[in-house]
Amino acid sequence: MSRNTLVFAFGVSFALCVGWIVFPRALYVQKRQPLTFLHKTHAEKSGIADCGECHTLRADGSFAGLPAMEKCTGCHSEKIGDSQAEATLVNNYIKPGTETPWLVYSRQPANVWFSHAIHVKLAGLACSECHSTYGESDQVRTYELNRISGYSRDIWGHSMSRLRRAPHEGMKMSDCESCHQRHQVEVGCLGCHE
């Protein structure tokens, strides 16, 4: 093997290492949620079985998103247990009456409109089809912030190559399109963009 070939191969290898190993780590900065919220614990201890009990739809069908603090106050007006998360919740948010600054994994650019009501009520999709088993999780996922775009890694999906992804991974426009194609549902541009 000639020297040139070896040097060229070294250059290729170097780029591959940088591109596949160093770049993803450099691109995303890991952030912790302000509170350790466990879906599993809430489902087991408070008997909340339906996602819609906390993640409600408004009267006009729009998705209310994360529950407001008053929902938490219903049970956590006083500390339940001795955990650090409980103390943080009560002292930092419930008593001062401020909302928890959750880092939202699914936040999209403002030019996109997604209707949970249409997908859940009209199409009859289960929450787990897009959110996997997150509703049963017993740990808080780390929020990975894209340094360039400012959005969560969940938008692109965890696989950098975007190959062999699970159906719930990724929230790019091509992911919406491929799901709509699978379900043979056609919407125009204005279905999602206003």
């Binding site: 250059g11 591959l16 591109g19 691109l27 409109w113 775009s149 400012g150 692109w156 206003e194």
Partner: protein, 554 residues
């Protein structure tokens, strides 16, 4: 081992080749494109509670029903209202993106005097001085609003004139005003009850009148039918969208619409298809055939065809007395399915079509389309939300943008029944804007304010107890308990629709009208001015051209 320059070049080539098969270039490209959407100077919808309000579009006098999606108190999405009897759920492409217009780069943000930035106080002082020195003329684009009444009152009190810049639909009804004495603004086309429409180039399916009116009628009564309930005969030089979907397309020469109308009247009378009429066109059928490019036999056959399925209505895109005279001969004036009275109002407006002479100042309301230029050497005070070029006025005065002012909307042009709606101000202007009505009311409070006039109109409507209110539910006016309740419904986006006007409409055509120049002939020597369009509208225009099947046009 010594590293040479060649090694570095070969290594770089290898690294470049390797980089292509990593996510680096593609991911950076994707992320940068998203990052560029969030630059600080790009307006972003406010984050906040989402609510939906109902209102009416104020871009043109049609006042289509609007469903406004608001986020954090700011309009972020518009769609039509299916229950609105006027627009029937449709909006024009511009209307769908109208909420973006308020951030258009050509938004007029400062008072300008001959290109230089000035102030409202200077503009007000200049107008007060001009109004004291000589007569003024106020030009309105959407007559019938409460704000229009303020403009009219001011003109009357200050010894000036009130003129109206009519749209093409109203101008097409102007010949009947001349022959019947009923104002063109009190007339309408009874399209819902007609069975045959002869269109002399009117772009019925391309954007004529209320966006949702004719396309809906066509979809319900003509689309994909071999023998449609509504026959459209389209005389058009080119295969327009309307011509392509018409029951019959007549390819006529550009500007020969008047000749075709005259030829048709000759053919109708010659074949005794209509009662004999006093006014007969001078041109013969052969002359009409020569001018239009159709054969004489084709014109005779067309005459037989159009009367086969009455009521018949001829429609022109703009002022065309020959087409109006054809309607008189066909007996379509004052008849069901023809030209009908929308109201019993007899007040006529002076058109601004001619030159404005011997005046000191001209005030142009923001409702007047931007391409209107006052034919006058007077000092022009031009209210506008968007700057279309400083040559159009001495003073450019920033007016409220889309949904930035509360206003009322009266009957759309050429609509056969009276309507009334209110558009609330759902967006807040971020700099000082004034309507022409407010500007003038500040100078002379006795001209009234739009709010008080709107309130008194609601009182009149309530007292009349006629018509129906189309809001969340359909409510007859007899079931409305008070003026306050009526006002609340209107502010919440309901539209009042009156009953069919019973006043008579009769036209006397003493002689055949002389030929008018073709309204379709464009002036190609005028410089082209880029239209003010929101980004969404341009996208929709492109999409609308891709709509192939007739069923998807609406």
């Amino acid at each position: 081992m010594k590293v040479t320059r060649r090694d570095l070049l070969v290594w770089s080539a290898g690294a470049a080749a390797g980089l292509v098969v990593t996510p680096v270039p593609w991911k950076i490209l994707d992320d940068v494109s998203i990052w560029s959407q969030n630059w600080p100077w790009i307006p972003q919808p406010a984050k906040g509670p989402v609510e939906v309000k109902q209102s009416a579009c104020t871009l043109c006098p049609n006042g289509c029903g609007l469903r406004v999606r608001m986020a954090g108190g700011c309009p972020v999405g518009l769609s039509g209202v299916n229950t609105n009897p006027v627009s029937r759920g449709a909006l024009c492409p511009l209307g769908f993106g109208a909420h973006q217009l308020n951030w258009h780069p050509r938004r007029l943000r400062n008072v300008k005097h001959r290109g230089n930035i000035s102030s409202w106080s200077e503009a007000s002082a200049a107008f007060a001085k001009a109004a004291r020195e000589g007569p003024i003329v106020i030009v309105d684009g959407h007559p019938g609003r409460s704000a229009s009444s303020v403009l009219e009152n001011f003109a009357e009190k200050w010894g000036g004139g009130y003129r109206v810049a009519m749209g093409p639909e109203t101008r097409s009804l102007a010949p009947y005003e001349l022959w019947s004495g009923v104002p063109a603004t009190s007339l309408g086309y009874d399209l819902e009850n007609t069975q045959t429409i002869v269109s002399f180039g009117a772009p019925l399916l391309d954007g004529w009148g209320i966006p949702g009116r004719f396309p809906r009628l066509w979809a319900e009564r003509a689309a994909s039918m071999n023998d449609p309930q509504l026959r459209i005969v389209q005389a058009d030089p080119s295969l327009s969208r309307t011509a392509a979907r018409a029951w019959q397309w007549l390819q006529v020469r550009e500007g020969s619409e008047s000749a075709l109308a005259a030829g048709l009247v000759r053919a109708l009378l010659e074949q005794n298809l209509v009662p004999a009429h006093g006014a007969i066109p001078l041109a013969t059928i052969s002359e009409a055939a020569n001018e239009t490019g159709l054969s004489a036999d084709r014109i005779r056959e067309l005459a037989r065809t159009i009367v086969a399925k009455p009521p018949v209505l001829a429609v022109s895109p703009d002022f065309n007395p020959a087409v109006a005279a054809l309607n008189v001969v066909l007996g379509a004036v004052g008849a069901r399915g023809g030209i009908v009275r929308s109201s019993d109002r007899t007040k006529k407006y002076s058109s601004v079509a001619g030159a404005i002479s011997n005046v000191r100042a001209v005030v142009i309301d923001s409702s007047v389309p931007w391409d209107f230029a006052a034919k006058s050497d007077a000092e022009v005070f031009r209210f506008a939300a968007w700057d279309g070029g400083s040559s159009k006025g001495d003073w450019l005065l920033p007016a409220p943008g889309f949904l930035e002012e509360s206003t009322d909307i009266s009957t759309p042009p050429a609509y056969p029944v009276e309507t009334y709606a209110v558009a609330a101000n759902l967006a807040k202007p971020t700099f000082e804007v004034q309507t022409a009505a407010r500007f003038l009311a500040n100078l002379d409070a006795s001209a009234g304010t739009p709010e008080t006039i709107l309130h008194s109109r609601c009182e009149q409507l309530f007292r009349s107890r006629s018509g129906t209110l189309y809001g969340q539910t359909i409510t007859p006016m007899t079931e409305i308990a008070s003026t306050q309740e009526l006002e609340k419904h209107l502010w919440d986006g309901a539209v009042w629709v009156g009953e069919r006007c019973s006043a008579k409409l009769a036209c006397e055509l003493k002689e055949w009208p002389s030929a008018s120049p073709s309204s379709r002939a464009g002036n190609w020597t005028q410089p082209w001015l880029a239209p003010v369009l929101p980004p969404l509208a341009s996208k929709l225009y492109i999409e609308s051209n891709l709509r192939g099947t007739p069923g998807r046009t609406v």
